[in-house]
């Protein structure tokens, strides 16, 4: 396998996504052991300034592929642009942050390059000159360790797993590549930001999640207040989503989102296996439940047995007091 590494950068409105910086850091770590160089490719329109921000991150070369047809994201346009950079850099490993965009682009790239594809990886190690990738399967109920037999491997790095500290004194050089016209049949034609004040569970550092024990859609008001104090997102169990109390975008678990916040407060969540799979790698887990035998208490660091409609407002008030003291 070729040892060069190419990081495909995700930028929105010229701003490099944190997940891309994490991918750079992960790539630099692998390159140190494999002995190859790390380059990056920035795709879009009018992105010279964006590319320049990457010159001090430790990457040797920053390719830019620019064109008006690359302004809005499209799988086809970006895949063709990234493929051009893969060929120019002669990389054996392509890395991309496994965000929604990354998870859309990476399999297309793997198909175009006839490469292997290891998505959403959480660990990268090198043994005897071979790269081994660890990735969760069954929503994290197990971890698979895989290696690639193709000439090229496309790796998606799970967000918030690899550190994003990539500052160094290096000066990467910028090289512009021609953007060949691509046939674009499917393209992003609009983006609407989520309602102000609502946080996405996949990006939040703290999550207050509710299960069937919350009792009703209106019952989530007490969780929302706690979330506001903690600057947290509100999450939900599958039961709650299936009952129509919360949108699917809030669902944590095997058919929802896999999350790993610093603090996860499960309120009235019994702890079905598919839910536990989606949040078990959270740093600190708190469970509030009437039923002391609920499985959620098995994974919770701290539990309170009691009625969430009494405990949660009291907790909100107590935390507010503590945090205001500071």
């Amino acid at each position: 396998m070729k040892t060069g590494i190419l990081i495909v950068i995700e930028q929105r409105g010229g701003e490099v996504k944190r997940a891309s910086l994490e991918a750079i850091a992960a790539g630099l770590g692998v390159a140190e052991k494999l002995g190859g160089g790390v380059s990056a490719v920035v795709i879009g329109n009018d992105i010279a300034a964006t590319a320049a921000t990457l010159s001090g991150t430790g990457v040797e070369k920053i390719y830019t592929v620019e064109g008006t047809h690359l302004e809005a994201y499209s799988t086809e346009g970006w895949c063709k642009a990234a493929t051009a950079a893969a060929e120019a850099s002669d990389a054996g490993i392509l890395m991309v942050g496994a965000t929604t965009l990354g998870r859309d682009l990476a399999p297309a790239l793997a198909a175009a390059l006839e490469a292997g594809y290891a998505s959403d990886c959480t660990g990268l190690d090198v043994e005897n000159g071979n790269l081994f990738v660890t990735r969760p399967v069954y929503a994290g109920k197990a971890n698979a360790r895989v290696t690639c037999t193709a000439d090229i491997l496309v790796v998606g790095t799970r967000p918030n797993v690899f550190p994003a500290n990539v500052q160094n004194d290096g000066t990467g050089t910028i090289e512009s590549l021609a953007a060949d016209a691509a046939e674009i049949r499917a393209q992003v034609t609009g983006i609407a930001a989520a309602t102000k004040g609502t946080k996405d569970v996949s990006e939040a550092d703290a999550i207050v999640a509710g299960g069937r024990g919350v009792g009703s859609a209106e019952g989530f008001a007490v969780l929302e207040k706690l979330a506001e104090v903690l600057d947290a997102a509100v999450g939900a169990s599958r039961a709650v989503v299936d009952l129509g109390w919360r949108p699917h975008s809030d669902q944590v678990g095997q058919t929802g989102k896999v999350v790993a916040p610093t603090l996860y407060i499960a309120c009235g969540v019994s702890g079905a296996i598919q839910h536990l799979a989606g949040m078990r790698t959270s740093k600190v887990i708190v469970a509030i439940n009437k039923d002391a035998t609920a499985p959620i208490f098995k994974v919770a660091d701290y539990g309170i047995e009691g009625d969430l409609h009494e405990v949660v407002p009291a907790l909100t008030e107590a935390l507010q007091t503590v945090m205001q003291q500071g």
Partner: protein, 250 residues
């Protein structure tokens, strides 16, 4: 235009995963295998699309194990025909896409619905790789889908928002939960499905590009503790979160 729905077989999400002695597969005894939940959504969308725009709806499944009962369910839910492409050995998304693409060729032009990922490998690559092989546009992870003429407008959730993606048809669409509510088959439909064509064919498993070295359970979380009952326990919890876990900044 034909309509295709691709269906994978996965352990039910309620399954407690245990690793088999080979340390490469899961222990399958006692595991209930079902249609991948996202593929149920893909099938429902495909049925609706076929009902609105005509054509024949073909369900395709690639895999080693018997899946007749579930494929009959797909026929009961509205598919016109089912084909099981029987292989042995692990495939991964690129292998599944290769087998599917070859089988789909004679049915083109076709709009193809897949789940956004299967809940075993969690890769989310098959639909996109299939689109590449068939030279079709692809929209992944769709939450809404509206057709006007030969154009479809889809939305998908992204971090902190929702984006709209417009595509020409035919296309490959990979489906997210929330897109629709999959139907249950009625008794009459189940009876009718018995007469619909269900074919099992042998397919050649392509060489895999990824090799699985090992499968392991994640480390157990340390045993937690119940710190108290009711509102009286709140000050104890706040103290622990602040001073022991140090996740609350004073």
């Amino acid at each position: 235009m034909n309509v295709i729905a691709c269906i994978a077989r996965v352990p039910d999400t309620a399954t407690r995963i245990r690793i088999a002695a080979d340390e490469k597969t899961i222990a399958s005894d006692g595991v209930q295998y079902v249609i991948n939940p996202y593929d149920e959504i893909a099938l429902e969308e495909a049925v609706g699309f076929r009902d609105a725009h005509g054509g024949s709806l073909i369900v395709l499944h690639v895999g080693a194990e018997d899946f007749q009962k579930d494929l009959r369910q797909c026929l009961a839910k509205g598919a016109d025909q089912a084909i099981h492409l029987k292989t042995d050995g692990p495939l991964g998304p690129s292998g599944v896409a290769e087998i599917l693409a070859a089988e789909i060729q004679p049915f083109l032009p076709a709009t193809i619905f897949c789940g956004k990922q299967s809940v075993d490998g969690d890769v989310g690559g098959t639909g996109t790789m299939l689109a590449y092989r068939l030279d079709l546009p692809v929209v992944s992870k769709i939450s809404t889908f509206e057709v006007t003429g030969d154009t479809a407008t889809c939305t998908r959730e992204i971090e902190g928002g929702v984006e709209t993606v417009t595509t020409s048809l035919p296309a490959v669409l990979t489906c997210e939960k929330g897109l629709n509510e999959p139907r249950r088959a009625g008794l009459k439909d189940i009876m009718a499905a018995k007469k619909k064509p269900l074919e099992v064919k042998d397919a050649q498993a392509p060489t895999t590009k990824l090799v699985l070295e090992s499968l392991q359970l994640p480390p157990e979380r340390p045993e937690g503790r119940i710190v108290g009952e009711g509102v009286e326990a709140v000050p104890i919890l706040v103290d622990l979160l602040t001073n022991e876990a140090k996740v609350i900044q004073q």
